[in-house]
């Protein structure tokens, strides 16, 4: 096993993996646990991971799967987060911007795990729907459907209802034709 390669990978990519895990789970300590567990699992199969050619994709998949396992484990003990009822209209621009993002973050945490994962992977990791589908082991159409449902859920909140619908996400089919959701 190329220990030095693995060490270099850990050194280079742990920060990015921690950010991804944190956005998925919303908790710093859990994010650390998820990433550590993912790296330990990746280390056990590092030869195969590197032979496959894309260690980042492999480890990212483990992180997402670990998050899903963690969510299932914790589902029975999680407390629902109450949506913010603080009116935003009275705030100035900066405060409003912070308050809206805070509200959006809380609403993102309330989304079902697959919907949230799609938004994080699409808008933070900048992955295509095809890549997200591969990572989540579903069809690209399912990814678009999950995203649409997530946005619909977000727009149900009165403070976000005035935001315009997102632009259609572009993706490329295996035949090379461009699709829009």
């Amino acid at each position: 096993m190329a220990e030095s390669d693995f060490g270099e990978y850990v050194e280079a990519r742990t920060g990015a993996l921690l950010r991804l895990a944190y956005l998925l789970c919303g908790n710093a300590h859990t994010a650390e646990d998820i990433v550590q567990d993912a790296l330990v699992r990746a280390h056990r199969r590092w030869d195969r991971v590197t032979q496959a050619g894309s260690p980042d994709a492999y480890v990212r998949r483990i992180v997402v799967n670990q998050h899903r396992s963690w969510r299932r484990l914790r589902a029975s003990t999680e407390l629902a987060v109450e949506p913010s009822d603080v009116p935003l209209s009275a705030a100035d621009d900066v405060q409003e911007s912070l308050a809206v993002r805070d509200l959006t973050w809380r609403l993102l945490q309330e989304l079902p795990e697959q919907q949230r994962a799609v938004l994080v992977l699409r808008y933070y990791e900048d992955l295509s729907d095809v890549n997200i589908a591969d990572l989540l082991d579903c069809a690209p159409g399912t990814v678009r459907s999950l995203a649409a449902r997530a946005f619909a859920q977000l727009r149900r909140h009165p403070d976000l209802s005035g935001y315009a619908a997102p632009e259609p996400a572009h993706t490329t089919t295996p035949s090379g034709q461009e699709e829009t959701s």
Partner: protein, 221 residues
């Protein structure tokens, strides 16, 4: 009109900055400790005293005509004792600070360090043992925190063993030469609880060893 996907993207980018950092683990832990000053001074003091005791033995040996080489070796043992003491103290603090019961009353530490304790699990213990004087010094340095029991071999672990029914077993990595070195350390506590960390250990201006950071890899099983 603002778009909702732009808001989601901005929110995620904004929040990602609050994700945990991969490197300054120790610094963050130090800031959160409940009684950092008292226990930190006690451990540092005990380590320094133990080091001084070991060095004093070296002076005695040197004066008896055994030569400066042996004295140098004993000074090196003092360095090893202090460095291992601070590493173990940090590792135990990192590992058990969230436990209601805190650090276990007894920890088992393998006499033989591995080149890299993090990846050594399951290997036979074949390295050179830590000298008895160093072990005694480390034991004394950590006496305020826990009882260190040095063991020659990794004890058998049964599938039913849990942290409540067993003592943690700790494996130290080798201490390289130099004034700023990486030292790995790993532990098993029960059948399915294992973790590893690598610390950056540096000698300060006063000649004392301090853990000044953590380095990859860190792991948890």
């Amino acid at each position: 009109m603002n778009r909702l996907d732009d808001l989601v993207r901005a929110t995620l980018v904004d929040r990602a900055e609050q994700a945990p950092s991969p490197i300054p683990v120790v610094n963050r832990v130090r800031a959160q400790r409940r009684q950092p000053a008292r226990r930190g001074w006690l451990v540092a003091g005990a380590a320094a005293a133990a080091t001084a005791a070991v060095v004093a033995v070296g002076i005695t040996v040197s004066n008896s005509g055994s030569g400066s080489g042996q004295s140098t070796a004993v000074v090196a043992e003092g360095r090893t004792a202090e460095a291992y003491s601070v590493v173990l103290e940090h590792f135990l603090d990192d590992s058990y600070r969230h436990d209601d019961d805190g650090v276990p009353d007894t920890v088992l530490v393998l006499i033989r360090p591995e080149e890299d304790a993090g990846w050594a699990a399951g290997r036979p213990e074949v390295g050179d043992p830590i000298p008895p004087d160093v072990r005694d010094a480390v034991t004394a340095a950590l006496a305020d925190l826990t009882t260190v029991a040095w063991v020659d071999r990794f004890p058998p672990i049964d599938p039913g063993d849990t942290p409540e029914t067993s003592d943690p077993v700790i494996r130290l990595g080798l201490l390289p030469s130099g004034d700023e070195v990486n030292v790995s350390v790993s532990a098993n506590h029960g059948y399915d609880n294992g973790w590893l960390k690598t610390y950056v250990v540096s000698r300060d201006e006063d000649g004392h060893w301090r853990v000044t950071g953590a380095d990859a890899p860190v792991g948890l099983t």
